[in-house]
């Protein structure tokens, strides 16, 4: 397994994963993903951190059209802005939802999981992170 976006997702040898972020030493902002400078204040003085694998829904929508011609995912599908403790946030797909039976709300807790998006030419899985409502 390997990560589709190594600046955000690190796959560990054990098969477990870490979500990456930075905490700026100048402006104190916690930002999702690794960046050359703090995206908030452009300081180079930051520490790399790992984020919690639980967050909450800050915003969401249900999309009723496939985003492009090669789409293999479900339709309709849900995308959500996920906020992590400390304030970092990212946008990902909310997976495995029975839309007929689930009332989505802002503030709902979610858990982050990894899924295979694709395979590389050697057959190795390329992983992305998704969000899921706790079972």
């Amino acid at each position: 397994m390997k990560s589709f976006k190594e600046s955000e997702l690190r796959i560990l040898p054990s098969g477990d994963f870490e979500l990456l972020g930075i905490r700026c030493k100048d402006c104190q902002e916690v930002v999702f993903g690794l960046h050359p400078l703090c995206p908030n204040c452009s300081s180079p003085e930051y520490e790399q951190i790992t984020l919690a694998k639980q967050g909450k829904i800050r915003n969401y929508t249900i999309l009723y059209v496939p985003p492009h011609g090669e789409w293999k995912g479900p339709v309709p599908y849900v995308i959500a802005e996920i906020e992590f403790p400390g304030g970092a946030s990212t946008t990902t797909q909310l997976v495995d939802i029975d839309l007929a039976d689930t009332r989505l709300e802002v503030g709902m807790p979610v858990e982050i999981e990894i899924r295979e998006a694709d395979k590389d030419e050697d057959g190795e899985s390329i992983m992305i992170y998704v969000a899921k409502l706790p079972s």
């Binding site: 589709f4 908030n40 999309l63 985003p67 995308i79 992305i128």
Partner: protein, 404 residues
């Protein structure tokens, strides 16, 4: 070295905006819109190429300006989607290469041609050139507009969809300001009504509020008729130094009194109303020496209905959180207190990405000259603004003032 986070970006002492302060020191020349030209927006068969669209818009702008092609001193072109590289050069050379600088593409997402205008006003303002032509044209593929990355997690997750991002905006706005979806959807009703009397509009069809709300759901709560179409079309502008403009035309001169380009900052996500437009408007109004109260009409970026509402608030044309009330009270109609998108906006006129920014400036120019035909904003308006937003966080704002 200590890095200070601030709310305004690059600053020099005593100023909010770098370019604004330097412009005062340099005493920039005034720039006017000398000519405007459009190819109608719509869907055209494959054999009608982007070159055909662009050539027609440019020819009309040249004629409207009263100049000859050989009077053009710099030519700039904008497109976004897949067309020939140096597409603009192929178009311009149809008119002849008389040894002037030509730029084949100035791309800044939906704000591409408005970014070209931003550059052109500064090239003329500093005195380097008198006459610059800006053209934008597009032939767009059908289907949703998504993240530009061909191979990315976003493509597998389906997160980079423009209308998904607008749906986030709509949901947040509805939560924060208590707006009902009916008020947001009313933007579509108004803009399609305006588009129906605009000969250059892609859609000339009027919809009821029920038809808008009951059209196919795209990104909850945005239905199909709340999302702008994909479009073909072209727009061109001839920009000129004010002090030589009377040599060419006897039409009323429309001055670009304010022009600003701002980018979304990381901290802007804390606000629902787009702060890039707030800053761009603040800078453009200060350049023009006006306040939002002086503005008589606006063309804004309604790629989705919610876009119009948040942008008129960001421009200060109504109080924060009241854009939806202005909309349902009819204040943004052509005969309202602050007409917004008399063209039909992106919703009805269409949105060929590279053409839209120039098209908005052309529209305001026609209204300030009293040449907008059936959709003319009444009351002999003298001041109008445009706002053009784009993927990646860009916002451009222009203040246009008729010289009397």
């Amino acid at each position: 070295m200590r890095y200070e986070a601030n709310n305004r970006g690059a600053q020099i002492p005593g100023s909010n905006f770098w370019g604004l302060e330097m412009a005062k020191k340099l005493k920039l020349r005034d720039v006017v819109v000398l000519g405007v030209g459009l190819h109608p927006f719509g869907r055209f068969p494959p054999e009608k190429t982007y070159m055909d669209l662009a050539k027609e818009a440019i020819s009309r702008a040249i004629e409207d300006a009263g100049i000859k092609w050989r009077d053009v001193q710099v030519a700039m072109y904008s497109h976004v989607r897949e067309q020939a590289s140096s597409a603009g050069l192929l178009v311009f050379q149809e008119f002849g290469s008389h040894g002037i600088p030509m730029i084949g593409n100035i791309e800044n997402a939906c704000s591409s041609s408005s970014t070209a205008v931003w550059l052109a006003t500064r090239l003329i303002g500093t005195g380097l050139y008198d006459i610059i032509l800006v053209a934008g044209a597009e032939k767009m593929p059908r289907g949703p507009l998504t993240s530009p990355l061909r191979y990315s997690p976003e493509r597998y997750l389906g997160t980079g969809v423009m209308m998904g991002l607008y749906a986030f905006m709509a949901r947040r706005y509805m939560r924060e300001y208590g707006a009902p979806i009916e008020a947001i959807a009313q933007v579509s009703v108004k803009n399609h009504r305006n588009g129906a009397i605009n000969p250059y509009a892609q859609y000339k069809k009027v919809f009821t509020l029920e038809e808008v709300l009951n059209s196919r759901m795209i990104a909850d709560p945005l239905t199909l008729y709340q999302c702008c179409p994909t479009s073909d079309g072209a727009a061109a502008l001839v920009l000129c130094a004010a002090d030589v403009a009377s040599k060419y035309t006897s039409k009323p001169l429309v001055r670009i009194a304010g022009s600003a380009l701002h980018i979304q900052k990381y901290s802007d996500r804390k606000k629902c109303i787009p702060q890039n437009t707030v800053r761009a408007a603040e800078e453009a109004y200060e350049q023009a020496g006006i306040s939002p109260k002086d503005v008589r009409l606006a063309e804004v970026h309604d790629a989705a209905t919610i876009g119009e509402i948040v942008q008129i608030e960001a421009l200060g044309l109504c109080p924060e959180g009241e854009g939806w009330k202005y909309t349902i009270e009819g204040k943004t109609e052509i005969n309202g207190v602050i007409p917004v998108n008399p063209s039909g906006g992106l919703q009805a006129q269409g949105h060929p990405l590279g053409a839209t920014g120039a098209r908005q400036i052309a529209e305001i120019t026609l209204h300030l000259r009293g040449e907008a035909g059936e959709r003319q904003v009444p009351g002999n308006p003298k001041v109008g603004v445009t706002e053009c937003a784009g993927f990646g966080g860009v916002s451009t704002v222009y203040v246009l003032v008729r010289q009397d």
